[in-house]
């Protein structure tokens, strides 16, 4: 029975992916991609990776889908250009052979992986107690491979600045994205107002439980970012000007807190990015809180895009 679920799910995932590629319009392709993200979320659950399922639900299907949907309504026309630039049959066949060959080799290589699989599950489970964390994935992210997480949170700052830097010179310091009219009446305005508090609670809940159960700063931060975007498109809030000091601080708070905690470990003689015994859990929670804020700010600003209006 379980096997049937997995085969069905794998087939649906591939079907949605094929649709995304073959869809007649950009909009249809994006909807196919959102469906793909939903199905992949289920696949992660079946693979025993609920932490990833949560992330995929929030980022893969949610945030990526919204960015692409908002892009597709702004990107119009170009049909002739696209068909002129679409490669001919020979290239198609060559690309198909190349891609198929890579896929086939990959499938064979996966089947050739050693059994029992080498891995770090036992080590990761055994030592998470030293960090006071019940969730082994959180132990990897904040402990064993903390540098990855630190650098990744820095990548988000890079990405936000990279997006901002695409603006025209005269818009620097201004407000990102289009202005949305305030929705006073109608079902949408009501729904937005109703959803906001629920979403905030869920976002904070997901970020908070991350230490013990699936969840954490990235997933929770994404939900909070989504709620901000909702308030924005409903006209309830305006994006802050990118010159604002508060925005800059919110963006760097997480990585900076992580970096400082790393040095604190060094100062206490435990080493860079080491969590001092006894203080590990509270320090991690503090850093996670700052990271949640920064992730939420970064993702929301990535959705909002480069500054388009004067402050």
């Amino acid at each position: 029975m379980g096997g049937l679920v997995d085969w069905l799910l794998a087939a649906l995932v591939l079907g949605a992916a094929a649709w995304t590629l073959a869809a007649p319009t950009g909009f249809a392709a994006v909807v196919g991609f959102v469906g793909f993200g939903l199905l992949v979320t289920l696949a992660w659950v079946r693979l025993g990776a609920v932490d990833v399922a949560l992330t995929e639900a929030a980022i893969g299907a949610g945030a990526t889908g919204v960015i692409l949907l908002m892009a597709v309504v702004r990107l119009r026309g170009g049909a002739e250009e696209v068909s002129a630039a679409t490669p001919g049959r020979a290239v198609m066949v060559a690309a198909g052979l190349l891609a198929g060959g890579v896929g086939l080799a990959l499938a064979l290589a996966v089947l050739a992986l050693p059994d029992p699989a080498p891995g770090l599950a036992a080590a990761a489970m055994a030592r998470r107690g030293e960090l006071g964390l019940g969730n082994p994935v959180a132990a990897v992210l904040m402990g064993y491979r903390g540098l990855d997480t630190l650098l990744e949170s820095v990548v988000l700052v890079f990405a936000v600045l990279a997006v901002w830097s695409m603006a025209p010179d005269r818009r620097w310091g201004g407000i990102p994205g289009p202005r949305f009219p305030r929705q006073e009446a109608g079902p949408l305005a009501l729904l937005a107002r109703l959803l906001l508090p629920i979403g905030l609670v869920i976002g904070i809940h997901v970020a908070w439980v991350g230490a013990e159960a699936p969840g954490g700063k990235f997933q929770g931060g994404t939900i909070l970012a989504a709620m901000w975007v909702l308030a924005w498109v409903a006209g309830l809030v305006q994006p802050p000007a990118i010159a604002s000091q508060a925005v800059r601080l919110a963006l760097v708070a997480g990585p900076l807190a992580f970096l400082l905690a790393g040095f604190a470990g060094m100062a206490l003689g435990e080493g860079f990015l080491a969590w001092p015994p006894g203080l590990a859990k509270p320090m991690i929670l503090l850093v996670e809180a700052a990271m949640t804020l920064s992730v939420a700010a970064a993702l929301a600003l990535l959705v909002a895009g480069p500054p388009e209006r004067a402050a």
């Binding site: 990959l106 903390g146 800059r248 900076l256």
Partner: protein, 499 residues
């Protein structure tokens, strides 16, 4: 072996300093970003020098175990000769470009913060952080994150001018970079599945010539080649590099592609067992040889100076790949020569190419155009920039005495020593073609200006001096006695005894 060594804390600082500096520059903004960048990059140069000295003195790599967790569970930073040499090269070029940028990328008076300068200074630090992460990382996934940092930093620097025509070439650049990253990541998934670790030192012990490992290596190599723009994946590079402002082009061509190269060496020399690596190396070197010839030939035909310099990058990257079959040939003496030659090529090209882009930018700025055919009068108006271009050109050609000469000579003798004379022929041919395009530029700039032309505006002295200094370093690398380059051999696996 993977524990923390004395002096390991230097590695932490070398990474954390630019990371923290970037975050602060971003938060504080405006002119403060420039001040922070200058300070951090200056300190970074000192740190890189200290690391190199420490590695050289110890005769062994430095390592730092992060968070106290031992690999395979934890991560480590490590600096062997390769990392130390590249870190020092990067620090010097970054500092030079920062000094150059003080004039070109100053925040205009009367404004609190402007787009291009703020982006430039912040991403200069971002680039320093990314390069430190890429050179010092000891774990393949950690290096993936470093590659992604590099992508964002490099792309934004390339877009700095914000000209409408840029977006198309930058999108192409982004796609190549992203595909490269994804293929690299795919390889790490296979390696983890096969060996249960991504730590380079542990993988070196565990990896065999099994299907997952070989496919992983092939995918990762393909990804890195796309990022390095090795022929035939080079088409994205010239428009992207040539379209950026000179300071950014210098970094992109001089440094960014080298980070992917260091990862490639980690993969081929450390992780892969010698036998399959030896079998695949001639293929890569063949592509490198094609890059040298094709890139140089296209550079010869360019009408725009910056595009000419960018195509020269395509060609010079090719030389780096010639070292692989020579290092892996199984002759320890030739391997040491080829290794030094390859790294020296990477370093001297970084200095020379940065010098070339900076001086080309100065010339283009003063003349108001960069058409190669109409460079007349440039030599009279800004002799220092033209001399810098010429000296850098000597190094790229491989004329003694210069770093480029020593590098190419080492590769050449290693090729002859291992009986692979055909690579030697490529090196010589590439040198001649390089001479051709450098001569075109120099000859053009040294002619008298056309009578009707407006008098070119002489540039400020400071930036010119920076370009000249970089060119001089590239040349001076050739005057250093070979024995003092022992640094780069430290920590290199000895592959002589391949079964």
């Amino acid at each position: 072996m993977s524990g923390t060594t004395p002096g390991g804390w230097l590695l932490v600082l070398a990474l954390a300093l630019p990371v923290g500096g970037m975050l602060l520059a971003f938060a504080l903004g405006g002119r403060t970003a420039e001040r922070i960048a200058l300070g951090v990059l200056g300190l970074g140069t000192v740190l890189a020098g200290m690391i190199a000295a420490e590695v050289y003195a110890a005769g062994a790599p430095l390592a730092y175990r992060l968070g106290g967790w031992a690999p395979p569970l934890g991560l480590r930073l490590q600096a062997d000769g390769l990392a130390a040499a590249m870190l020092l090269t990067a620090a010097l070029v970054l500092l030079a470009v920062a000094l150059f940028g003080r004039a070109a990328q100053a925040t205009p008076p009367g404004v609190q913060e402007a787009r291009a300068p703020f982006t430039f200074w912040t991403f200069l630090l971002a680039l320093a952080a990314s390069l430190a992460a890429a050179f010092l990382g000891g774990d393949l996934f950690n290096l993936f994150v470093a590659l992604e940092m590099l992508t964002f930093a490099a792309l934004s620097l390339a877009c700095l001018d914000g000209r409408p025509s840029q977006f198309r070439s930058e999108l192409r650049y982004l796609f190549f970079a992203l595909i490269g990253s994804v293929l690299y990541l795919l390889g790490t998934a296979l390696l983890y599945g096969a060996h249960g670790t991504l730590d380079i030192a542990l993988l070196a012990e565990r990896a065999g010539a099994d299907l997952p490992t070989l496919l992983a290596a092939a995918l990762m190599t393909a990804g890195l080649l796309a990022k390095m723009a090795l022929f035939p994946l080079h088409l994205w590079l010239p428009p992207a590099h040539a379209g950026a402002p000179p300071a950014a082009s210098a970094l992109l061509s001089g440094l960014v592609v080298k980070a992917a190269f260091v990862l490639l060496l980690r993969l081929w020399i450390w992780v892969l067992p010698p036998v399959p690596a030896g079998a695949g190396a001639p293929l890569l070197a063949g592509l490198g040889a094609a890059a040298i010839l094709v890139g140089s030939l296209i550079a010869l035909r360019q009408e725009r100076l910056k595009l000419l310099v960018a195509y020269s990058t395509v060609a010079q990257i090719g030389y780096l790949f010639l070292m692989l079959p020579l290092v892996l040939a199984g002759d320890p003496e030739a391997a040491a020569r080829a290794w030094l030659g390859g790294i020296l090529q990477a370093a001297s090209h970084a200095f020379a190419k940065a010098a070339m882009f900076l001086s080309a930018g100065l010339v283009a700025g003063a003349l108001g155009h960069d058409r190669v055919a109409e460079l007349g009068g440039a030599g009279r108006a800004m002799p220092m920039a033209v001399i810098a271009f010429g000296l850098a050109g000597l190094s790229l050609m491989g004329i003694p005495p210069s770093g480029g000469f020593t590098a190419k000579w080492l590769l050449l003798t290693a090729a002859l020593g291992t009986g692979q004379w055909w690579w030697a022929a490529v090196i010589l041919g590439g040198g001649l073609l390089t001479g051709g395009y450098v001569y075109r530029v120099l000859a053009g700039s040294l002619t008298a200006p056309p009578a009707a032309a407006p008098r070119p505006e002489p540039p400020a002295q400071g930036p010119e001096r920076v370009a000249l200094a970089l060119a001089l370093v590239s040349v001076a690398l050739g005057l250093v006695p070979l024995a003092s380059f022992g640094l780069v051999q430290i920590g290199r696996p000895i592959l002589g005894g391949a079964p």
